[in-house]
Symmetry: C2
Subunit: 345 residues, 2 copies
């Protein structure tokens, strides 16, 4: 018997998740909601480029039918998303969201975290912040690696992520702006960089049993001003425009940066001094663990996969507000065996 799911938010990520879940045999999408008048009233299947499903998009989540799980893909801002999550929990849905700040907001948003946990427990359901980063790459994956050392002294992660498949979201990073435009956009708050550093650092520290003195999130800065034209899937970066930016954050303890994270987001070219790729370094008292991905993890693909792979885990989990690190690895693993055989992703 397939588990019933409703979708809330049908932007690029919501649609990509729906596309995947429509092909799964273990779940069934029975409702979808989005505030955008352009999509309200359309068939969900048609909206995501598939065949009609009989599920018509409504504008208000309150109009959705009962289901085991609601998947929320609206914004990165937890203060805003919480107002969507709480009524869903109160109506008895398990809830999962790719909102970055939901990943582990116990230190960044303690009041909202407590409210979500209390509401979920009162209604016997689970709420989970999911995604690849935060969610896996800078928290759950390094936490698992620490299992191989008895005492961790420091965690250092450097990611260089290819962003050339993205569209509108690039403006948040300032990619495609001139240095002058970038400065102005940062000043006005339009360029903010990565959401989720504080949550990844909190999740890591909590998983290691560490109490941090402070979490410092830096400001996003230009890393590469392009000397060539770089063509992405939706956006082209011209000569003189910013092709890559760097954003970093640190967790401090006793004056030391015991958690040290940095991400370069960019359109990379073979002529650059750097290429996409990830470096993990867990400095332990007994051994130092180093892992490198020469190709990195494609941001959008990884996020969609981490989310859709976790849907049944949320339904089966104990009630309350959980993070990805609270779930068994087997439950987070790829659910390809639940996909229909008759199509490619």
């Amino acid at each position: 018997m397939a588990q019933r799911i409703v979708m809330v938010g049908l932007g690029a990520t919501g649609r990509a998740m729906a596309q995947s879940l429509l092909r799964r045999t273990d779940v069934q999408i029975v409702g979808a909601a989005d505030r955008n008048p352009a999509v309200v009233g359309t068939d969900l299947g048609v909206l995501v480029g598939s065949t009609a499903t009989g599920v018509t998009v409504v504008d208000d989540p309150a109009g959705l039918p009962p289901a085991a799980l609601a998947i929320v893909a609206t914004t990165s801002d937890l203060n805003h998303v919480a107002d969507t999550l709480v009524p869903l929990l109160e109506r008895g849905y398990n809830v999962m969201s790719i909102c970055e700040e939901l990943a582990y907001p116990w230190s960044s948003h303690p009041v909202i975290s407590r409210r979500l946990d209390d509401t979920a427990k009162a209604h016997g359901v689970t709420v989970l912040g999911t995604g690849a980063n935060p969610g896996v790459l800078m928290d759950t994956l390094p936490l698992l690696l620490t299992a191989l050392t008895q005492r961790v002294d420091r965690v250092i992660i450097r990611r260089r992520t290819n962003m050339s498949r993205y569209g509108a979201i690039l403006s948040k990073f300032g990619i495609g702006l001139t240095p002058e435009q970038f400065s102005a956009a940062k000043e006005s708050g339009d360029v903010v960089g990565h959401y989720g550093f504080e949550q990844s650092i909190s999740a890591l520290a909590s998983g290691l049993g560490w109490t941090l003195d402070a979490i410092e999130v830096g400001r996003v800065t230009p890393a590469t001003v392009s000397e060539i034209t770089r063509v992405g899937e939706h956006v082209t970066v011209e000569r003189g425009q910013i092709a890559a930016v760097t954003h970093a954050a640190r967790g401090l303890c006793g004056g030391r940066a015991v958690i040290d994270l940095e991400i370069m987001f960019g359109f990379f070219d073979p002529s650059d001094a750097v290429a996409a790729g990830d470096d993990y370094r867990i400095e332990g008292a007994d051994q130092t663990i180093e892992l490198t991905s020469l190709t990195g993890f494609e941001s959008f693909i990884s996020t969609i996969a981490a989310a859709v792979n976790a849907v049944t885990a949320v339904i089966n989990a104990p009630s309350g507000f959980l993070s990805m690190g609270d779930l068994p690895v087997r439950a987070l693993a790829s659910k390809g065996a639940q996909l229909l055989e008759d199509g490619s992703l």
Copy 2:
């Protein structure tokens, strides 16, 4: 209040675990047993090179005091270990063992697996197979990586592991034998290679929801006959002796090797064509994930760490027979915060 623990088996790994746990503030070793007459009657602390603990080693596990957890470190052979595990479960201990075949024996030892699960559930306790490999490196870690892809086509892992810190166990791999001695020792069953391939492959397949047609475990073969002298911690490999061996296994589905594992165990030298290090490749329909460790994971250190880091997770887990992939990542993470501050590892 520290959790009470008893140790069963005080060989090299049992002693290393005891050494670590004696320095933890969240657990307390209250009993220890070993069949070796040379250690029975000695103080556990003195035996592991520390100060006296007041815990005297007994010969029979039946003489151990009540505790929340029994840690078993005796042999790799599950048929043998099960006879130690079952009475402990019946007496109400949660039980953890580094026995490789306990990692995920549902396909290799279905009757014993069922018996362990039934016994544990009947007594409201947990039994866990732990360790680094099997346990993390070729099962739980790649399973977590699959979370970043919607459908996995193939998992390929190549490990090259430095064995120069080991002593007696090297004979199991044939390291230090001449090629002629190796052939004879393989024939007589003295050289067997790695325990745990079948369990890692089963854990991976089960976590991915795959039903395999077969698991093929190859025979260990010489990889490097040394042309120089290689000095290890306990053993020296002379010119003309085997310095490295290769052991491989595959999980087959529809005639394809969908899980493809290989480990080279050796004393490595800069003059060799290969060096220690690990390569992970998850071939997905949406993206291929590649991770490399240029230094690899030190086998003994990783095993001890994975085990001691999991002790409280076993005590807190639901009852039954679990694998490392059944536990939340946060519970498996390093417990360095629980170590006393006043000493190095």
